[in-house]
Amino acid sequence: MNQQTPTNNIPLSSLFSSDEIICSSTELDEEEMLHTLIERIGNSGKLRDIEEAFTIIIQLKCCSLTYLLPEVAVFHARIPSMKSLGIALAVIPSGIECCWTTGETKTVKLAVLVLTPHKEPGGYIRTITAISRICQRKGFLTNLYKTAEPEKVWDYFDQADMQLPEFVTAGDIMRTTFHSLRDTDSLSEAIDAFCRYGISELPVLDVDGDLVGVVSEDELIRICLPEYITWMEDLSAILDFQPFAEILLREKDMPVVEISILADRYATVEETTPAIQVAKVMMRRDVRRVLVVRENRLLGIITIQDIINKIMRA
């Protein structure tokens, strides 16, 4: 994660107190834990209607639960009755099973609840960015799980001296796991990947992981049915998709780079680019995804769905 983004000098530890931390060595139910955390935020005076918040969290679980790191989960929602951003933490060294909407369960040892007012769509993202950065520090989580008391947990976070970033960057919201192709792959593998993964675009990387280009379904169709063929009103000569057949005859021999859009023509941003700039690039270039690079090394992908999920439904 980028450490160079300017901060606005708001320490993460100032957003919660030891009263909003629970340390539990006994097994807790996921919903019990959530309810307790919401109550703690309510007790701080930031939240008026605890049951409303609980209902919203449970109802929006499909997009309100983020598995941030192994054993770290963040529950979040924007609550109409929130006065200001509220954070509560649950440190459970024995782990708690949290259930995703996919039916999958994961063990969580640090659960973070972030509730934000409606009018602060960026507040959650900045908070989760700070939490993610702090948790990625070497040994932080290991030592955290050994801390048994809320006051000591708070001290631990305070001593870590993590501040909220001034703005969220592309690196903070990108997906780091994605499907890709190698520049040595053939067109056949590209078509298989489109069918298998159900996605519309795939980055093409060289052996070093550098971005060579992007291959898209649109480009594939355009290769088979270029503009000069579509001028004809009468397409009876190609009712059997003859132009596609020509390309398919060569699919195993044709390298995927033959049909890929070169990297310099694709929408890319540096990881330090502000997230709002990413949204602007999407609108300006009329694209639904943007690649995040560092000196041409592909780091991640941001889709328009990520913008909606992380900013509009944060």
């Binding site: 004809m232 009468d234 132009p243």
Partner: protein
């Protein structure tokens, strides 16, 4: 555009127009009506250029202003608006729509893509020649639309920068548009006003166009030799893998071929038919595309409405109609006679300089002003200078200058603007003004020089014919 920019432009155009108007009165001795005509004409033309997106609105307002100030009569507008030229263009646009639907342009592109042993130089030569000849056969805009698609297809497949090859096609298109009356609206306009026939164009213009094209292609091949070498390399790599440059399909091209051959055939024989039927000069010329268009609309009746509503560029044609009428104010008030007299006096005893002067003036005018606008205004001057002789070198000088000058700047011709629009839309990139201007000036100069030298050789034959 900001209000400040709007006001600045308006103030500038008013200043220029009023200054030239005042100059024409006090220095050149034009009378009141002539001065008014010049001033209003300049305001209209400059406003059209400064506010290009509003050109039709400006023409709509400008024409009544001329009529209401008695700088033009309504009858004069009706006589000079060249409705026959507009109808000619309507017909051709419908025919082009039909050709596109019938796969004629698809067939041409596929034939180029299928060629064996394609090299960089061969590709450039073929695309340039096809651009020029298709501009001569249909029109420059249609030519660049489908040639640009070909260039983009090949450059995308080979991963090379398309700009040099697009520029080559555009410049060849502009040169080729001088070959016949069909290539450029200025061609049909000059033919109409000068009483020139299609045969006259084939005899005096087409060969010059071929020479100018050869010179232009040679220049551009040398200018872009590095890019052509890179294209060559990529083509060789692709040949090595036996990958095609694009898919090809079976195109029922005969129908399209019959349509274009029939249309051009009728146009080319118009003079013979007119003589046979004792019709006025160019009657059949103007009617030929309408006949073809009518046949297309019956044959492809389910698409007839589409051709009229979408393939005919009504915005542009109505603008031309108004523009031709506006330009006639100079003739109506006698300004063109004065200008022609001045020209004659200037070149008295040196009439051999008149031809290059017209070429240079029309080339420079075309480079910075829409060539139809320039030619519309200049035609009455040339009419005076030629003394009513139709096959006169000055007409060809005007034609060549107007067409070849379109290569000098990015805005020099409609084909340039269309190509740049396509480039920007597809690649989100623009050509820098100087990148075009340097090669454009060289190409424009080369072609104009060839035209002048050709006219020097042929002019004596012309006036006697």
């Amino acid at each position: 555009m900001s209000s400040k920019a709007l006001v600045s432009r308006f103030a500038l155009l008013m200043l220029i127009s009023l200054m030239i108007g005042a100059l024409s009165h006090f220095s050149w001795g034009l009378n009141g009506q002539q001065t008014l005509s010049v001033t209003i004409f300049l305001i209209i033309i400059l406003a059209t250029l400064f506010f290009w997106n509003f050109r039709l609105a400006i023409a709509f307002i400008g024409l009544p202003v001329l009529i209401l100030t008695d700088a033009l009569k309504l009858e004069g507008f009706k006589t000079h608006c060249s409705l026959e030229v507009i109808l000619f263009l309507v017909g051709m646009m419908v025919v082009v729509g039909g050709l596109r639907d019938l796969g004629f342009f698809t067939w041409i592109i596929q034939n180029i893509l299928k060629m064996k042993g394609m090299t960089g130089r061969r590709f450039v030569l073929i695309t340039a020649v096809v651009s020029a000849l298709s501009a001569s056969a249909v029109d420059e805009v249609t030519s660049i639309l489908f040639m640009a698609a070909l260039v983009f297809q090949v450059c995308d497949v080979l991963k090379v920068r398309p700009i040099p090859f697009l520029i080559i096609c555009v410049m060849a298109t502009n040169v080729g548009s001088a070959g016949t009356m069909l290539g450029n609206p200025v061609g049909i306009l000059i033919g109409s006003k000068a009483g020139l026939t299609f045969e006259d164009f084939m005899l005096w213009s087409f060969p010059v166009m071929l020479l100018a094209l050869a010179a232009t292609i040679a220049l551009l091949m040398a200018w872009y030799r590095d890019e052509i070498a890179q294209l060559d390399q990529r083509l060789a790599q692709r040949r090595g893998h036996d990958f095609p440059l694009g898919p090809t399909v079976k195109v029922p091209y005969m129908r399209g071929l019959m349509l274009i051959v029939g249309t051009i055939g009728l146009v080319s024989l118009h003079h013979r038919i007119e003589l046979l039927l004792e019709l006025e000069t160019n009657t059949v010329l103007y009617m030929a595309p309408l006949i073809s268009a009518g046949i297309v609309m019956i044959w492809r009746r389910e698409r007839a409405r589409y051709y009229i509503e979408h393939d005919v560029e009504w915005w542009t044609l109505i603008f031309f109609l108004m523009l031709f009428g506006v330009a006639s104010t100079l003739q109506y008030t006698g300004v063109t006679t004065e200008i022609a007299t001045s020209f004659s006096s200037l070149f008295e005893g040196q009439s051999e300089l008149l031809m290059p002067a017209v070429i240079v003036l029309s080339a420079l005018g075309s480079a910075f002003v829409d060539n139809v606008i320039f030619v519309s205004a200049f035609i009455p001057v040339v009419q005076e200078l030629t003394g009513g002789v139709s096959v006169h070198p000055l007409w060809w000088a005007l034609l060549f200058g107007a067409c070849f000058g379109g290569n000098i700047t990015m805005i020099g011709s409609t084909a340039n603007i269309v190509a740049l629009g396509m480039l920007e839309k597809r690649y989100r990139t623009r050509i820098v003004f100087m990148e075009w201007f340097r090669v454009g000036l060289a190409a424009g100069f080369t072609a104009s020089l060839v035209a002048w030298l050709s006219l020097l050789v042929t002019s004596s034959m012309m006036i006697g014919s």
